[in-house]
Symmetry: C2
Subunit: 140 residues, 2 copies
Amino acid sequence: MNKPGGISSKLSELGYRLTPQRIMILSAIDNSDDHISAEEIYAQVVAKYANVNISTVYRTLELLKRLGLVTETDMGEGRVRYHPVGKGHHHHLVCQECGAIIDLDESVLSSVKDVLLREYGFIADLKHLAIFGRCVNCRK
Amino acid sequence: MNKPGGISSKLSELGYRLTPQRIMILSAIDNSDDHISAEEIYAQVVAKYANVNISTVYRTLELLKRLGLVTETDMGEGRVRYHPVGKGHHHHLVCQECGAIIDLDESVLSSVKDVLLREYGFIADLKHLAIFGRCVNCRK
DNA sequence: TATGCAGTTGCATAGAGTCTCAATTATAAT
DNA sequence: ATTATAATTGAGACTCTATGCAACTGCATA
């Protein structure tokens, strides 16, 4: 907890308060191997301290997003999932037929990033994208 | 209304009913130059016939999406926008700083589409994507 | 220690979108 | 024309996310 380089140390470096609520939220994000949803974070936090409000979870996630400490990915489940940036970037292919999720290395989109920067002067934030479509098994 | 090649004729060709509700929804989509949101469609439809329910709008949009007749794009406004496929594909660069929206030709992502197909056998549905980031004017 | 003040939280509420279920409507079959 | 069947709709409950506001927290200065 609060190891150097971790999200929590970054937060306090930037002058934000490390409240108990935030510490619990951050540890939920950090301890999740997978991509975690706001509701899942909330469930973990409430288990430890019942008086935490879900608004706080959403507000903390919003803050972390703005600071570039977590990425947000919509995998088409009707809820968004979060991932700490420190644990590496990657993208997902989401099959709209069978729901399969195939991980995709960041490099696949780096050429696009380059083109956008070169031709449009646009710095694309392509850290954690979900691309929808049809996977090998579901093609006719 | 119901011109050949239009969405409504496609719908009836596929065996779906062309109910008054759907006709009004389709004409709202077709007549919008811009990308239109569900609420905007609903507002237009209700103005003509008060008893239409917003569920019907969402259900119709879901159907059109599934049939590939409209594309859905989340430009980060907290609501999704729709666009008839017949009016051409393109992507958007959305600046997270100033909100500027820069249109982007479909071809920029066609190389990605090819790579995904070749290396993953994945048919990517990249018809109408919003890429977030920072535009030329907002770079430091 | 007391006071001011910005940061943060809980609560209540609102908006966007989804889902269930019963009622209605259209199509097909008799 | 009547009945059976399936598609579609409206109403309303519900989920996820965001926001306004008043209360609370903790640092900084007096």
